[in-house]
């Protein structure tokens, strides 16, 4: 972070806060700029309306709405099985959490028992999705601080994981693999060996990333002290996932409210006590390595036979009993949940998606940005790990 205290002579700066603080654009002390909708800070389209004084942000407003497709409303006019190919579109880089949450909510309301084999396959796919998302994020965080080559290394390895997704599900980005009742396919022949080879490659490249990024003086200087989230903001601002764990809150849905096969896996959530952009990056690096370990555990323990799909009624006439439920999972960015209301007809009455970006990118980002140097805005926005489509479902 470029230290703002470095501007020792502040006589020419307008006051930053307090009684004298007032954004008067006619005073020629402030400039308003639009950062976005396409910029290095965000995967997707989201605008930041920044008020700048010199090179320092004094006010920030988040603007979303560039990706609104009305998913929640679309689903009210579709049968449950028709919703399943829609939900993955709500979050492009990690669609599987949407598929899992939607499927689990429908199964809970309909009372469908999912076969054991399918639960293991779902756990595997969710962890693979976490891996791809973290690889993409780490490249983005390095890129926001000017180290684009690290993004190229990691994108290569992400592609190898996407190859594994392709042979398992047929799709690289949208997998449409987890559907109500189970999953679509079992592991292809030789999948384990190829996946384990990819994991070894990722561990190798992460050792390089550790040297090139986490021991890089430029990255350290710019990321340390940038966007500090105090521990007591975690609850009021609805902060979840790595952002909360970096602030010292030991919360991980995988451990606190276990789902799928996580109770049978051995892991401890990664906690950090340096709640700035550097601490969050370091936490995600360790979480990525934890995911590699979890995938190995899953591959060594999962059963290779048995049904992977429950028997469903005719899905085109499937009426789910009335009721409401909320199902959550720990995605790469925090708590991802689906609130599903059924009125007993063949269509969902209401689907509400709770994405972690909703709280991180609006209330929290607007709170963190004032006082930041404009060169660090993109790095700070990346460090919260935001995907805009889940804000405006």
């Amino acid at each position: 972070m470029i230290r703002l205290d470095g501007h020792r002579d502040r006589s020419k700066f307008p006051p930053r806060e307090g009684d004298g603080f007032q954004v008067d654009l006619d005073s020629e002390k402030f400039v308003k700029i639009w950062h976005g909708p396409n910029h290095p800070g965000i995967t997707g389209n989201m605008s930041l309306e920044l008020t700048i004084s010199g090179d320092e942000v004094v006010d920030a407003t988040t603007h979303v709405g560039y990706l609104h497709r009305g998913f929640e409303k679309l689903m009210e006019r579709r049968r449950y099985i028709q919703c399943f190919p829609i939900v993955c579109r709500i979050c492009v880089p990690e669609p599987d959490f949407n598929e899992y949450c939607f499927a689990a909510a429908v199964e809970e309301l309909a009372g469908v028992e999912v076969p054991d084999s399918a639960l293991w396959l779902r756990t595997l796919v969710l962890e693979m999705a976490r891996l791809t998302s973290y690889l993409m994020w780490l490249g983005g965080q390095a890129g926001a601080f000017g180290m684009g080559v690290i993004g190229q290394w990691l994108t290569y390895h992400r592609d190898l994981v996407l190859d594994r997704f392709e042979e398992l599900t047929g799709g690289r980005i949208y997998h449409m693999y987890i559907l109500p009742g189970g999953v679509r396919n079992r592991l292809p022949e030789g999948f384990d060996q190829r996946m384990l080879a990819v994991l070894r490659g990722i561990e190798d490249v992460m050792a390089d990333v550790d040297q090139a990024l986490f021991h890089n003086a430029v990255f350290r200087k710019r990321a340390e002290g940038l966007g500090v989230i105090p521990r007591d903001w975690v609850d009021p601002y609805g902060i979840t996932g790595p952002n909360a764990r970096a602030a010292g809150a030991a919360r991980d849905v995988r451990r606190d409210m276990p789902y799928l096969k996580y109770p049978e896996l051995e892991f401890e959530p990664v906690i950090h006590h340096q709640s700035d952009a550097f601490g969050r990056a370091d936490l995600r690096r360790r979480d990525l390595l934890l995911t590699v370990d979890l995938i190995r555990q899953i591959l060594s323990r999962m059963p290779r036979s048995g049904s992977f799909m429950a028997r469903l009624p005719n899905v085109l006439h499937w009426q789910v009993p009335p009721g409401e439920t909320y199902v959550r999972s720990e995605c790469t960015r925090g708590e991802y949940g689906y609130y599903l209301v059924s009125d007993g007809s063949g269509y969902p009455r209401r689907v509400n998606v709770r994405g972690p970006s909703y709280t991180h990118a609006i209330a929290l980002l607007e709170k963190l940005l004032p006082g930041t140097n404009i060169a660090d805005v993109a790095g700070l926005a990346v460090s919260l790990h935001t995907y805009p489509p889940e804000i405006e479902r």
Binding site: R77, P236, Y237, M257, K367
Partner: protein
Amino acid sequence: MDRQTRLIERIRAVAPELSTDVLEFRRPDLVFMDVEKDVLVALLTRLRNEGGFTHLVLLTAVDWIEDKVFQLTYLIHNPEEGVDLGARVKLDRDLPVMRSLHHLWPTAATYQRELKEMFGIDFPGSPRLDRPLILEGWEGPPPYRRDFDTLRYAEETYFPRPGRSTIDPEAHMRERRYPDNGGGNDQA
């Protein structure tokens, strides 16, 4: 003690006047209950401050148009016990006004802004309530209400569009494949 018992104990300790009959358990760690509109904010304040329900998971609305009510669902989470509570409030659909919660959770302001835009539910005093969150320049009824017809809206807004013509696929293919036959089907 299992999660369900602990959840009941937590609610009892904070709100002893509530009868346990109102609790509808969906899972041992998830309970829903109907709350009167006037007592909701006071109840949530007590649950947050004394009951350990410190995390607002979501705030959303369900449109029960046949009963002429909006249902607001406040889902709060207790991280210590790992339990969730969904408080449901019924609002009159003709005059949907609810007290704001932004003083308890600053993020509630975003949820309330979205509910105002998408359902037309008013939360007086909530910050930036009238500034559009997603739908800039939207004129018309709140689109997430049940009586908003998405198909009709799409047809009125996007069709017909200047420069776009509609082609009947069957006639088009017949024209292309059998041009000499005047577009007639000679397979018969």
